[in-house]
Symmetry: C2
């Protein structure tokens, strides 16, 4: 997956996230085909950016970040479900994801729908059975996730992306703030909530993450144009093919670069008052410049 | 929907559940097509048996049952999502549900998948923002729901029902205990958890509900054979058509009647020690004898 080694801390977060996810959906029940389908997508080598945000903000709020792993991994479960369902024939109808067959191409449409369906409650289960969190902090984290994943969050963004033909920069920005921004912001805020942090930190986390998330999406649109199929792991121009308007269409390549710089600056400004913000600065820069 | 008036209390539960559900997904966001699709299925006139169980157990545990409405309605949201997804072309491929077009026939497959996807986190949102419950009781209710709806609960049952060809009474019973029993048991237990009740009540609620749920499923299989298309609201023998083994195949009609009586007796025995068990007895009898 290229160079993620912008920070040893990120490597730690990623390793522990993968280790935790590896421990889920083991065993051989009568319905172990469901487990296989879930594990295929969950362990397909994602960048684990959302969990890293959760863990970093938990750490910044004074919590032992290892105790926030169930919360961080819950975000990754919801993210994975959204990828499985987004790839379905009735959605983007994609055959490849991260260079591998999509879930429904590998396991069939029925099991792909059901794997996604199961991942949602399993995400809440992880949070709500996290032994190292108080009931209040568990309930708080789960509520943040519920709002971000719901009918006025990620799913609303997917509806706009799949079924609406949006044309203004304002509407496209709303689409992405819902489709990807809501979950990225939630991931960051859940780190604060897991640690029982107050309103100021939670607001800073949301602002940082929403700007980083927007920059991430703009970069995604740029990479869709400039990337190679091999490096990016999905067919180039697949969004364009379906007639979806991208930030490149709206702003041009140069304008996208400027927008990403502006988002990154705003993201940094939001967390600059936090003493140990170095990781967040590096993460913002890494995401702004990523080539895959 | 025929005679539900076996109890004025049930009518109260049903009316208040419908009123609460009516208040959700209003407004006109850019993605109001999602709201329309959700409301179409959510307000399609279900019997609201699961919410009634939640509300009755909350009441039996000494709580003002009105305060448990968000928890009760959360169960109905999850139940509704499961019906929408069960009807999809890649699942049972049904065109009619409760005498109306299924969600994907009305709104298309994309929106039907997304309506179901949104209903899950919205269910957790309802519970986790229930103001009249303590954080501990909110977290408790949400965890019960997460387990029942997840990869070792309802979805596992749907995997067995859709993708496996089970032949033994033991396996078919496991299938239904997961597919429908898990959520019915959760509904009852969540009423206890909302009220902060202890282990004995929760265990009694689960035992009652799991027996009632099994009786419900066996009756469903009988009605599939004896019901008329008009009364039952879906094509007769649709399960049989797909080669799924039913309790009628396993036990015969007479054997089904006996099994229902046995389940109903066990359900009653589980709650007999509870002083005001009259409603639960009547509900068990009503479900055992229902004609639709």
């Amino acid at each position: 997956m290229g160079n993620h080694k912008f920070s040893p801390q990120y490597e730690d977060y990623r390793t522990e996230t993968d280790r935790f996810l590896e421990s889920l959906f083991l065993g051989e029940p009568l319905y172990s085909d469901l487990y296989a389908s879930i594990r295929y997508s969950l362990l397909a080598g994602g960048k684990r950016i959302r969990p890293a945000l959760t863990l970093e903000f938990a750490d910044l709020c004074g919590m032992d970040w290892h105790k926030a792993l169930p919360v961080a991994c819950a975000v990754e479960l919801v993210h994975t479900y959204s990828l499985i369902h987004d790839d379905l024939p009735c959605m983007d109808n994609d055959e490849l994801r991260r260079g591998k067959l999509t879930n429904h191409k590998m396991f069939g449409e029925t099991l792909a729908v059901l794997a996604g369906d199961a991942l949602q409650p399993e995400a809440f289960r992880l949070i709500l059975s996290a032994e190292d969190l108080s009931a209040e902090n568990r309930a708080d984290c789960a509520l943040i996730l519920a709002r971000a994943a719901g009918a006025d969050g990620m799913v609303a963004g997917q509806v706009l992306d799949t079924l609406h033909h949006l044309t203004s920069r304002e509407d496209i920005t709303l689409l992405h703030s819902l489709k990807t921004g809501a979950m990225i912001s939630a991931a960051a805020e859940m780190g604060c909530a897991a640690a029982g942090a107050g309103a100021w930190m939670r607001q800073a986390a949301r602002q940082y993450a929403s700007q980083v998330g927007l920059a991430f999406q703009i970069r995604d649109d740029m990479l869709d144009v400039i990337g190679s199929e091999k490096a990016f792991g999905k067919p180039i121009g697949s969004d364009k093919k379906e007639g979806k308007l991208t930030f490149v269409d709206l702003l041009g390549m140069e304008g996208c670069g400027e927008a990403i710089r502006a988002c990154t600056e705003q993201a940094k400004a939001a967390v600059e008052p936090i003493p140990n913000h170095a990781f967040l600065f590096r993460l913002a820069d890494y995401l702004a410049d990523r080539t895959q």
